[in-house]
């Protein structure tokens, strides 16, 4: 955990008081809605279909139990008793009243939580691997760098009015859980031949109506130079990114129009011209931030405790353990994923009661720490293996032990037309119906890893382009239709999916998905061949034939 000091606390309190003044000026009419819109967006406040929506940052997906309890409090006191975890390590509250927002922010600020730059055309919440610091084989904890970048990008005087939003993600593991290739800047921590730590820098990834996978702009930037290099990218983008058309304003379009070589050259020239502007991170500066991350005092525990051996006969426990429990870098410990995808439920939602209960379980079993991943699930990052059976029982009672992590019902979905003013179609009911169709966990196990992503419009908040199966809601003559793609992925081999056939109406989506899955089961080489690998091997055509033959 990163511990805020007096300076961090002062800054977020100052931001709360500024926002309180802005809300006051809006309510008195001193600020027009047009002016206020930009200011509220910079603080995570959207105007949705029914009410204001409030998006709060969970930097690099790390939360303390105290902070999670405060989310429960906000959900209860200012909202309707629940919150929604998003695909970018944020939590959203959907029913907040404008006049109460400053109080909600002040309550969150007390536990070091803010909503700065969770929307608007600025540098968004920095995201990272939800297993940072505990995943085996990691280069080093990427959250040290995430925090350095979080501070650097917070209320940046030059880059708070960019052409469009700007997202940075960091990974330090071989397997990319942070989806860095679909970010404006993706950073992959690695060591060069001299053993020096630095970053492969990727730029220009993003989904939306013109999706691009990020390209490498520089294979190695030493850690000490990462802030100045990011500054150079941002300065080129701030000046040359398009502002004439909102749909062409992301950095991906600038990179595409200039070409990666020309863009890289511009950035390099700017970087060289900058010289020493106080952004170089020397050893002391990095250690200063590192020193404020605390780590659990792990015990020396056996790899296979008796409790685990005894629980092995419990089929339900074993199924959950195989699905939701992952290897930890410390012997005797595990990382436990908490599925927020119950059968029939909206993906990513958690009630205030669940949040409080998870906070208690984190205190009891995970050194008071919780993680949030872009798949819209939670994780307890430091669970002793001997505690797994007891934890399973507790999670099961809370409805948080659905054994479907990474399976067909672990669906990523945007809020869609049920909440969002941009949406063309509903997302949540599609997800709910699919979880019912695949409710049998044995079937889901048989299918294996399969990511379904649903977006209710072309803005692609549900990342449909990079779902193994992607579902995009569109509007046709006043009706909801859905385009379906297959073969996308968001990891280190990120790729955009391919359209499988004509769009289908709302009522047929679940049938088509079932047919796609059946086609895969018939076509796969062997049970271990994942859906996405079968699509890669055979292409879309054989699956299209089977699915659309009778349509």
């Amino acid at each position: 955990m990163y511990a805020y000091d007096e300076l961090d606390r002062t800054l977020i309190n100052e931001r709360v008081s500024e926002f309180r003044d802005q809300v006051k000026r809006r309510l008195s009419g001193e600020l027009t809605e047009d002016e206020f819109k930009i200011l509220r967006l910079q603080n995570g406040v959207y105007l949705q279909l029914h009410a204001y929506m409030f998006r709060v940052a969970i930097p690099y997906g790390t939360l303390s139990s105290k902070q999670l309890r405060r989310f429960a409090h906000v959900a209860r006191r200012y909202d309707r008793g629940y919150g929604h975890f998003t695909t970018r390590q944020n939590i959203q509250f959907n029913w907040i009243k404008l006049a109460e927002l400053p109080d909600a922010l002040a309550d969150l600020a007390e536990v070091g939580i803010h909503a700065m730059q969770t929307s608007g055309n600025n540098m968004r919440n920095v995201t990272s691997d939800q297993w940072a610091g505990v995943a085996p084989g990691e280069i080093e904890d990427p959250r040290i760098w995430s925090e350095l970048i979080r501070q650097h990008t917070t209320l940046h005087p030059e880059f708070s009015f960019l052409p469009r939003k700007f997202k940075i993600a960091i990974t330090a593991a071989e397997h990319d859980r942070a989806a860095i290739k679909i970010h404006d800047i993706g950073l992959r921590l690695h060591k060069n031949a001299d053993g020096e730590t630095g970053f492969e820098v990727l730029v220009g990834g993003g989904l939306g109506r013109t999706p691009f996978i990020a390209k490498t702009i520089k294979p190695f930037v030493p850690g000490r130079d990462i802030l100045s290099y990011i500054e150079a990218i941002l300065r080129v983008y701030n000046q040359y990114g398009r502002r004439d058309n909102i749909y062409k304003a992301r950095i991906k379009i600038l990179v595409h129009e200039l070409g990666i070589e020309k863009f890289a050259k511009e950035v390099d020239e700017e970087w060289k011209a900058m010289g020493d502007v106080g952004l170089t991170l020397d050893h002391t500066a990095i250690e200063e931030v590192r020193s404020r991350f605390s780590y659990p005092a792990y015990e020396k525990l056996p790899h296979m405790p008796d409790e685990l051996k005894q629980a092995a006969h419990d089929k339900l426990f074993e199924r959950w353990r195989k699905n939701s429990v992952s290897a930890h870098k410390v012997q005797g410990y595990s990382i436990v994923t908490l599925s927020l995808k119950p059968v029939g439920g909206p993906p990513g939602d958690a009630t205030a009661e669940q949040m409080d209960a998870v906070a208690d379980l984190a205190d009891k079993y995970s050194f008071g720490e919780i993680r949030v991943g872009h798949e819209q699930n939670l994780a307890l990052p430091h669970v002793a293996k001997r505690d797994l059976p007891a934890l399973f029982k507790a999670l099961d009672r809370l409805g948080l032990a659905t054994p479907n992590v990474n399976l067909v019902t672990d669906i990523i979905a945007c809020p869609g037309l049920d909440y969002c003013s941009l949406a063309n179609a509903r997302s949540i009911p599609i997800a709910q119906e699919l979880t019912r169709r695949f409710a049998n966990h044995d079937t889901a196990d048989l299918i294996g890893r399969l990511h379904i992503n649903i977006s209710g419009c072309i803005n692609a908040c549900g990342h449909h382009h990079v779902g193994h199966i992607g579902i995009l809601g569109v509007e046709k003559n006043g009706e909801e239709f859905y385009q379906i793609t297959i073969g996308g992925r968001a990891d280190e081999n990120a790729q955009l999916g391919t359209l499988i056939g004509p769009a289908v109406p709302y009522a047929e989506v679940a049938d088509v998905i079932e047919d796609i899955v059946e086609a895969y089961l018939a076509l796969r080489d062997r049970p271990e061949e994942l859906f996405v690998d079968t699509v890669k091997r055979l292409g879309v055509e054989p699956i299209r034939e089977r699915v659309y033959a009778t349509r």
Partner: protein, 171 residues
């Protein structure tokens, strides 16, 4: 439209002269980039001071050779959403060493004062009277800054390291 300079509302000594309009015989003028670049020498020979209104889409390198003879550079915010002039301001101050008046013009609200000051602006053509009146109070809103810019404010990271240094020196 009130002008805020050196932290308070002041009389604007500069006259905005539209393209094609006749220049006053003396007194300070602000002219467009086109007008200035068409004949810089003629303008600079006048007895009054000269400032240039520089669009946010124009390359600063055309302006750089003249910087030491200009009394003001006005950078433009066509809407407060458009942040290009923040980069121009920092480049003028931090890279090209410009130390004359750096003026923000366009849609200027109080909510930008801190950012603008940090980027190097020291004069503000403020849209609303209430915002101009609130300048001093607004500038006191923040006491912690994460990024180094040319304004010399000490960053949070440097304050922490100073603190650490003084703590270890005291032991």
């Amino acid at each position: 439209m009130p002008l805020v300079k050196q932290g308070r509302i002041t009389t604007d000594l500069f006259v905005h002269v539209a393209d094609g309009a006749e220049l006053p015989g003396d007194g300070a003028v602000l002219v467009t980039a086109e007008r200035f670049l068409a004949d810089p020498e003629a303008l600079l020979r006048r007895s009054g001071k000269v400032g240039v209104i520089w669009p946010n889409s124009r390359n600063l390198e055309e302006l750089v050779p003249h910087l030491d003879r200009l009394a003001s550079v006005a950078l433009v915010f066509p809407t407060f959403r458009d942040g290009r002039a923040y980069s121009q301001a920092r480049l003028l101050r931090e890279r090209y060493g410009y130390d004359g008046e750096l003026r923000a013009t366009g849609q200027i609200l109080r909510d930008q004062f801190v950012f603008m000051t940090r980027a190097g602006f020291d004069a503000f053509e403020v849209k609303k009277d209430a915002d101009a009146d609130a300048f001093a109070a607004t500038m006191k809103r923040y006491s912690v800054f994460y990024q180094p810019t040319g304004d010399g404010r000490v960053t949070a990271l440097n304050r922490r390291m100073q603190l650490r240094h003084s703590e270890s020196a005291g032991q």
